[in-house]
Symmetry: C2
DNA sequence: CTGAAAGCGCTTACAG
DNA sequence: CTGAAAGCGCTTACAG
């Protein structure tokens, strides 16, 4: 537990004043080449690292970004997307010299106090909010605070909140187009969690795309994911039992996709032969199901990096226009639409 | 962006010295009830929050814990366990008044520099290491540093590293016992990632338990998860083609379990009728497969909270014995051993 | 019981 | 180009 080296010790060894060391460190102010060299040397020899608290105190900035993980709204796929998101955010933040402070809670109350803590005492310079629902109190709290923040996922009713998102309407249209190319025309839709704007955006894109290929969306083709946990068997068999039933289904997110898949297996409905499936997010789990799920990759790591970029601009007092950012997506075609490849011949 | 309230402003309003405010805050030193009340009032009226940098500077402690996410060793199920782990850690840390700093990287090099950054400049008071392999350089770096740290998962060859883990041997024995109770005697085993001590512990427990029920482990019953990605079909059909093949298989972790399951589906081997399956970790994905996976729940949230507890004791200079902690596990029986329930009658 | 002062490690005008 | 000084917001001996 040796005491860390301070700027004074470096100064003494380099035979200069502490302020000079500081200047060398921040690389500003004129410094003679000779002095600079001496200081650099002392810095290295002593293995100096600046004390972040001291810096923060004088700068008035913490050099930290907060990420608030909302769990109460543990909607949809946020769990599966989290690891990659954190990595994207962390890596970008580090590159800009920022540390990442994590806030979360096991109940809404804990989350709120965790966020409050984050917002007070100069702990962070800005916040990324992930996994929050539309009516999440966390969002209100952030808006009241004076700290800059970015939300992952746009908010239907709060256009002014800076956000980073996929173009979910476009993504849904791509899903429809993919299915249309495979010969499907009667395409159903399962709405994702009602509390997420993305669910509605995807629905909108789906309906629009259907019309674009000359098909009128039918009410009977629409299911609700939120209600599905109970009576899924009944709901789906009614769905498939209607006259001229859909031959394909677009599902709000991967988790829901897996649930639908499970139910179809129980109903002995072959996927994709009788019903093709497209989901959203392409989280790692989409690859693990049987058959694997065709899904729209939202590029969660890019969402992470883009949100840090946006947040840092806000931290610097800029007011970027547009206030929000769109990250490109990509359809990943898998077995739930393409079919299962014949098994490699076993010996 | 209003300036935050400082202790001086509170002092002025309460008509006392800053030091008195500080004493009220920390609740130490004799303070008259009257003064205390006045200060409390001013504190509340001004909505004061202590500046964490200033505190850190004088205390010499940051009030932060670091969590290093090793990804290079993106072994096994660590992804699936991460969200719950973070929540457990975060919640416990918050309760003890600590913030959580996240370090990660997209390559080994980035991870190392991320860790270095964490260890320097008094950023954190201690570190939790998660997801590291046995030969991970991160571990060396942590051992060289003077900061206290705890590793999640014990290390076979470094008994002195404080760690928190499940009793994997015991867990494996429970898996065997579960299968034995269902009538299985010929039980195979798929070794998890070689780079994880847990894999070997589980193997050990498996072999011991087998002997306990009077069955001699056969070499032919043992498979290696690491080599399975290529030629899984061939390997598994050979495995099942041997005379008197196993009727059950214990698999190193959930991810591997899913992979094996997939392969069995392709081979048209019914699970659990012809081959029952038990996996480890009981991450959320174990619930989503078809059939769902019987798995040993390692209680990742408890591992999280226990590691914070242990770490905080280390931070306070204690040398707890034992240096490591064991967290209880629990077998969660699902369809891959119990069989699929007959589908509820559909209308 | 309370206050004035020093100091934590840094940065940044201000002189020179 | 370089140094001495003040100050960021807090805590903690030291007086009284």
């Amino acid at each position: 537990m040796k005491r860390p080296v301070t700027i004074r010790q470096v100064a003494r060894r380099a035979r200069v004043a502490p302020s000079t060391v500081s200047r060398v460190l921040s690389d500003e102010g004129r410094i003679s080449e000779e002095t600079r060299r001496r200081v650099r040397r002392a810095l290295a020899e002593l293995d100096y690292y600046p004390n972040s608290a001291a810096r923060g105190l004088v700068n008035g900035a913490s050099g930290r970004l907060g990420i608030m993980l909302s769990r109460t709204a543990a909607y949809g796929d946020s769990h599966a997307l989290l690891p990659e998101l954190l990595r994207g955010i962390g890596s970008r933040a580090a590159r800009s010299g920022y540390d990442l402070l994590l806030a979360s809670g096991e109940s809404m109350l804990e989350e709120l106090s965790s966020l409050d803590r984050l917002l007070q005492g100069k702990r962070v310079d800005g916040v990324v909010l992930f996994g929050s629902g539309e009516d999440d109190p966390l969002l209100d709290r952030l808006e009241e605070s004076s700290l800059p923040f970015v939300r992952i996922g746009r908010h239907q009713f709060r256009e002014r909140v800076p956000s980073v998102d996929t173009d979910n309407r476009l993504a849904a249209r791509e899903a429809v187009r993919h299915l249309a190319e495979l010969g499907h025309a009667r395409i159903g839709f399962v709405l994702g969690p009602r509390g997420l704007t993305s669910s509605w955006d995807r629905l909108e894109g789906y309906e629009q795309a259907l019309r674009e290929i000359g098909v009128e969306p039918a009410e009977m083709w629409l299911l609700e994911g939120d209600g599905l946990s109970f009576g899924a068997l009944r709901t789906l068999s009614l769905f498939l039992g209607q006259p001229n039933p859909p031959t394909a289904l677009i599902v709000g997110d991967d988790r829901l996709g897996i649930f639908v898949l499970r139910t179809l297996v129980e109903l002995r409905v072959p996927v994709p032969e009788r019903l093709a499936l497209v989901a959203f997010n392409s989280s790692s789990i989409a690859d693990w199901t049987i058959p694997s799920l065709t899904s729209l990759d939202v590029g969660i790591d890019q969402i992470g990096t883009a949100s840090v970029d946006l947040l840092l601009r806000l931290c610097e007092g800029e007011a970027p226009t547009p206030r929000s950012r769109i990250v490109p997506h990509r359809l990943v075609a898998r077995e739930s639409t393409l079919g299962v490849k014949p098994p490699a011949s076993a010996p």
